[in-house]
Symmetry: C2
Subunit: 166 residues, 2 copies
DNA sequence: GTTGATAATCTCAACGTTGAAATAACAGCA
DNA sequence: TGCTGTTATTTCAACGTTGAGATTATCAAC
């Protein structure tokens, strides 16, 4: 089965036969997959009244365990966005009552962001169907392929230095 | 070697042992890789005076072959963005003299976007080092791993219906 | 205890995308 | 020829992020 990147590479082979564009076979696919999958997740979360970035923040706090709080800095590293973006996200989510800002008694420069009861209930309600939806999107891979794919991606991520969540 | 997604999945295993979150091992990695690689490409193009989206448009036109022109619609499908984004991109690139708008004599609703000499020269100058930079980013994978990874990603992309460039 | 360097967050203007509405042109057909 | 439905592009306000600077707090060394 061919995909859009095969077509793209065929075009390069014709136009620039002097170049071996093999890296595009991986880079191009990661980029296109990321866009396609983002769209799917957006569609999934919309009926739940959530933006994807909101779910990401909720999930990051949820999986950190009780008391479901992290500093703003930890959140922005986990989300791979800038500090300005996290301030903005926390503002909006606090306005919706999903998280609350708590002063960090240990370090007054820091702000702790804590899941409210409402935020906790929402993420726990959405989590299982979300994972099921992700499984649906990956259903074309059999279990062996999944493991190999995850392993290859892990090795690439680690080689690029992505070894901590913040 | 572990990566950030291993940590994330460990947290879920502790907090929600009832759920098998295996899909995150693939979805999370594609998402994080896409961000990391985007940053790297941005850094690569900056010294060449190019934004990543500019290079994408130039490359799409270049690989389509002489006369290096495509409709605005073909460009927005290839770039996976909306029509509004493409109008904006063409405006800016035309202002920089990298592309020009040509009326489509066959269909007056369409606009053909054509690489200028300057745009052609620029993309041909940047292409080889760009591919070399991509190869550097993927250098941790040996040739067999590359092929397997590309094949798994192709199969996933194709299963999601990404089989044409526009 | 003051100084200087570092760190965490917030602020805000610039940027680019989205999504929907507007405009213009095509195609088929009565 | 005149309708009707569809397609291609542009327009534009709303949205969220970036990137840099401002603010406030910490820490180590003097």
């Amino acid at each position: 089965m061919n995909d859009a990147v095969d077509l793209l590479m065929t075009q390069w082979a014709r136009e620039r036969p002097d170049l071996d564009v093999w890296p595009m076979g991986i880079m191009g696919r990661i980029s296109r997959l990321s866009r396609l999958l983002d769209r799917e997740l957006k569609e999934f979360f919309a009926p739940h009244g959530l933006e994807r970035w909101e779910f990401d923040v909720l999930a990051t706090l949820r999986r950190s365990g009780p008391p479901y709080e992290l500093t703003a800095g930890a959140l922005n590293k986990a989300a791979m966005v800038t500090s300005g973006a996290i301030t903005n996200r926390i503002d909006r989510m606090a306005a919706r009552g999903l998280v609350e800002r708590i002063p960090d008694s240990g370090d007054r420069r820091s702000v702790l962001v804590r899941l409210t009861e409402r935020g906790l209930a929402l993420v726990d309600e959405v989590l299982e169907p979300h994972v099921a939806n992700e499984a649906r999107l990956l259903a074309s891979l059999d279990p062996r392929e999944r493991d190999h794919l995850a392993a290859a991606l892990r090795s690439l991520l680690a080689s690029l230095g992505d070894t901590t969540l913040g």
